[in-house]
């Protein structure tokens, strides 16, 4: 059965931003109906292991199909019965060529030292870019952080705090800054921090008047933001930056 999944890691089409796309959800619902969850592509299985929102969507679609006697049958299924292999979107040879190009670029780039002196924000972007080129640790910028995700949207310590925007899971375009508006703690000095999904702090801003702003990061992905006072966490939020914000 596993030979169906030769495109492990190939996520194109099954994901839309940080979540499963319509077809990703549909494929998982079919798998649930056919008891073939283990044959789903690894990326989909991993995502379902972390994302309650997608689990809810999948089980709801499954429920609708079950209620209407429309569950798929294995023999008819375009993915599970044919076992078609889908090729990697970027061939290994292409990736190798990019690696060599990146190495040459680093050696030749006279200003490479400047990168090391760049502010934290640019360094983080650069390291992400570099790890993307090299395949690195196959980091998925949209994977929810196991440590931060369970806390997203929670108010800690001070119930007076009311976050108006952004809401947990809001999606922003790459040209849109993170704009924070909150009530209840105006007049107090708070620290707003932006973290990537590995917990690396990418930017900071002090606030005290109920609003703050942080510039968008260098690449799309799932990010978390923290509001704290005197080193104590008050609120943890999350936001996605993607290249194009779709209306639906």
């Amino acid at each position: 059965m596993k030979e169906h999944n030769v495109y492990e890691g190939q996520r194109d089409g099954l994901f839309d931003g940080p979540h499963l796309s319509g077809e990703g959800q549909a494929l998982a619902a079919d798998a649930l109906a056919l008891d073939r969850m283990e044959d789903l592509p690894d990326g989909v299985q991993e995502h379902l292991g972390e994302c309650q929102e997608c689990r809810e969507a999948v089980i709801e679609v499954y429920q609708i199909l079950r209620d209407t006697d429309s569950l798929p049958e294995e023999g008819d299924h375009p993915f599970f019965s044919r076992g078609e292999a889908v090729e990697e979107p970027l061939k290994p040879a292409g990736r190798r060529w990019l690696k060599y190009a990146a190495i040459a670029l680093l050696i030749l780039l006279p200003g490479s030292m400047l990168i090391l002196r760049a502010p934290l924000w640019e360094q983080a972007s650069f390291s992400r870019w570099l790890s993307g080129i090299f395949g690195g640790d196959r980091h998925d910028p949209f994977a929810p952080s196991p440590e931060l995700e369970p806390l997203a949207g929670m108010v800690f310590r001070d119930p007076a705090l009311q976050v108006l925007v952004p809401l947990p899971g809001d999606t922003l375009g790459m040209d849109q800054p993170l704009i924070l508006n909150y009530l209840g703690l105006e007049g107090q000095t708070l620290l707003l921090e932006l973290l990537d999904n590995r917990g690396v702090v990418l930017g900071k801003s002090m606030t005290g008047d109920g609003k703050a702003q942080l510039q968008p990061p260098g690449s799309q992905g799932l990010y978390y933001w923290k509001l704290s006072r005197d080193g104590h966490l008050l609120y943890l939020g999350k936001v996605c930056w993607i290249n194009h914000v779709h209306p639906t």
Binding site: G22, A29, D30, G49, I59, Q63, I64, D76, P78
Partner: protein, 263 residues
């Protein structure tokens, strides 16, 4: 011609016919949201029309984006569902209180024949909900069974700690079996050590406790999702016992009645 190919042909040649063929899905989805209190029964037809209108407008992008991995019917169901939710959001921006209404009483009588058959279906649905956790399914099964003190099998442990030998597995099992019924802190400590061994990440007692509590909440939510059922942590525990111990007959009658009442 296989059914998917036929539907695909309609998508490209006669989308109106495809829509007619799938109308029952839209109707069911809207009815589901009527039953949950999200849509006023009087607005039902209006919602069906709005969803169909939006679907027609999306036909070109559906043709482009559908890659024939799922069944087209399932794919369109996800689209109908998402369109329904979008329409509810647009129409109900100012009255979100409706969303949180308890399901009307008639739902209880509609869903609850108070029979063993219904419970069997719920147990089966619980199994589906557990399998939805993808890569985390093995961990979820293991931790739930340990938390509910349901005996574990070596194979279940091996699915989580893939590289463990039989001797190590037996040792873990022995430790897990000797945890006292009331001694949750010790169980969490033990599962924390196990998660360090299996996943190589920090697993404090508190982290394990939180993880299990959150997954139980997730399961309760999945079990109730748009179904009109009112499962609680207690009924999910009953379902887990039934699911993990299919031959188990020792469910006490009062607890079984509680499950029936909730359905």
């Amino acid at each position: 011609m296989d059914p998917n190919a036929e539907d695909l042909r309609l998508l490209h040649t006669d989308p109106g016919a495809l829509m007619g063929k799938y109308l029952y899905l839209v109707d069911t989805i809207v009815q589901m949201h009527v039953s949950s209190g999200y849509i006023d029964p009087e607005d039902k037809q209006e919602y069906v029309h709005q969803i169909l209108d939006a679907f027609i407008q999306r036909i070109p992008s559906i043709r482009e984006q559908y890659n024939e991995r799922s069944m087209l019917r399932t794919y369109c169901t996800t689209i109908f569902r998402n369109l329904c939710r979008d329409t509810i959001r647009q129409n109900h921006r100012t009255c979100t209180a409706r969303v949180f209404q308890e399901p009307p009483d008639f739902m209880v009588t509609y869903i609850s024949p108070l029979s063993e058959l219904v419970i069997r279906q719920e147990v089966e649905f619980f199994g589906k909900a557990v399998s939805l956790f993808g890569k985390k399914e093995h961990k979820l099964r293991l931790f739930l069974k340990a938390y509910y003190r349901i005996p574990l099998e070596p194979e279940e442990l091996r699915a989580y700690v893939a590289d463990a030998g039989m001797k190590e597995l037996q040792s873990w099992l022995k430790e897990l079996r000797t945890v006292d019924e009331e001694d949750d802190p010790r169980l969490f400590d033990l599962l924390g050590r196990l998660s360090v061994r299996a996943e190589g990440k920090h697993g404090s007692r508190e982290a394990v406790r939180k993880w299990i509590r959150m997954r139980i909440n997730d399961l309760v939510y999945l079990m109730n999702r748009s179904r009109g059922t009112r499962h609680t942590e207690e009924t999910v525990q009953l379902l887990a016992e039934r699911y993990f111990l299919p031959g188990h007959k020792s469910l006490e009658q009062p607890r079984m009645n509680e499950l029936k009442i909730r359905l």
